[in-house]
Amino acid sequence: MALRTPLYDLHVAAGARIVEFAGWDMPVQYTGVLDEHAAVRNAAGIFDVSHMGEVVFRGPKALEALQHLFTNDLGKCADGQAQYGCLCSDSGGIVDDVVVYRRSADDLLVCVNAGNRQKDFDWLHGHAFGADVVNESDAWGQLAVQGPLAAQIVQKLTSVRLGSVGSYRFTDGEVAGVRCTIARTGYTGEDGFELFCPAEASPKLWDALLDAGRPEGLKPCGLGARDSLRLEMAYRLYGSDMDDSTTPLEAGLAWVVKLDKGEFVGREALRRQKDAGVSRKLVGFTLTEPGIPRHGYDVVQGGKPIGTVTSGTKSPTLGTSIGLAYVPAALAAEGSSFSVRIRDRQVAARVVKTPFYTRSK
């Protein structure tokens, strides 16, 4: 039996189509993926992301313990700032990719992927080094309001001056009378907020936001649009583009691996891999012939499989077929070409710069 967020009944009543994702019954779409995708790019959309997990590090050892488990450098993250990075195993494989919200050196919230809630908690708790590590996933609801009009909409419901909350910054405050952590983060490539609130208050917050955003064209959005939006930004999806068997260096996440920050789990393996050079790399590509790449399709050259597509779609904004794939390092440079096997055809593809989509301002 799949898990449900406190908003499940509201989704069903609103006509959402429900699918199981990472063990959760979640809305995949309301009116349609393309419609919702366009709403986020042009106006705003609201997503129930309460299936995401929250693991909190507290106590005098909190920062030190999390630094030891995180590939990015929380020493460079100010209080009230969020930072993206990976949790790695000793071999450098990615346990999860997470966003850490640093409230203070002795209070940090780790936002983890839905499918990894228990795995991450066990991993973090097992390497806590004296920090107090609590799995608060069930206590939190999480709503994402994303799009160029997101700030305008959320501002109607809060006295917090959102203009003073910069990108990847957060603050505490009430939204529609609900106590929230208001974070200027997201997974769409647009401006927007992720609101962490008490799980039981999330339906009230959801309804208030939908009402407030009606004049701006705010639309409820499902996982379908969330996936096409993130892929246009080449944001990686754990479980599709990376897992325990891939390293951040292979996944194109070297920018969140700070080998010189001090000791952390996986550092030695990652340093060795960096020195030796990676043999495969995750790249963004577009198809130059008709077709749509999908997760699991072979990347081929000279008729031989040489890699794998990990994500693909027809980009709703660009109208072209885009994807991410692991290819040999020699083929990772922009402009490199290979083919993707789609059923019985070999369809030409070219490595391009990512993100595929860049917002206008």
């Binding site: 993926v33 749509i292 027809k314």
Partner: protein, 129 residues
């Protein structure tokens, strides 16, 4: 949901309209709704043979790939080429503008085990239970 009385249907959610010895083929309103936004379609060429119950093409939504199964056997005599540039037509008008191929029937008996509108509607109701 709309299921015109003059069409025949398959359990794979294709429809078939008979015009003399030709069958016009597409996917049903139920199928387009279940698929969601259709963004790509791959159809055979004129002259290609199709075989009842076997795949004759592919339709892809934003999220999924679905095979198309021929309701009848025969030879493709016409293809709705504009669909390749405007696959959303299948969502908008699955029974008219969204038709996919026309087939010259090789055996009129192929029609006999297809469902009528009431039978198809009953089938999808049972499938949803």
């Amino acid at each position: 949901m709309n299921f015109p009385e003059d069409l025949k249907y398959t359990k794979e959610h294709e429809w078939c309209r008979i015009k003399g010895n030709r069958a016009v083929i597409g996917i049903t309103d139920h199928a387009q709704d279940a698929l969601g936004d259709i963004v790509y379609v791959e159809l055979p060429d004129v002259g290609d043979p199709v075989k009842k119950g076997e795949s004759f093409g592919v339709v892809e939504s934003t999220k999924a790939v679905s095979e198309l199964f021929a309701p009848v056997s025969g030879k493709v005599v016409e293809v709705n080429d504009p669909l390749s540039d405007a696959p959303e037509t299948i969502n908008e008008d699955p029974y008219e503008e969204g038709w996919m191929i026309q087939v010259e029937l090789s055996d009129a008996k192929d029609m006999e085990d297809l469902l009528d509108a009431a039978g198809y509607q009953k089938f999808i109701e049972e499938e949803q239970e």
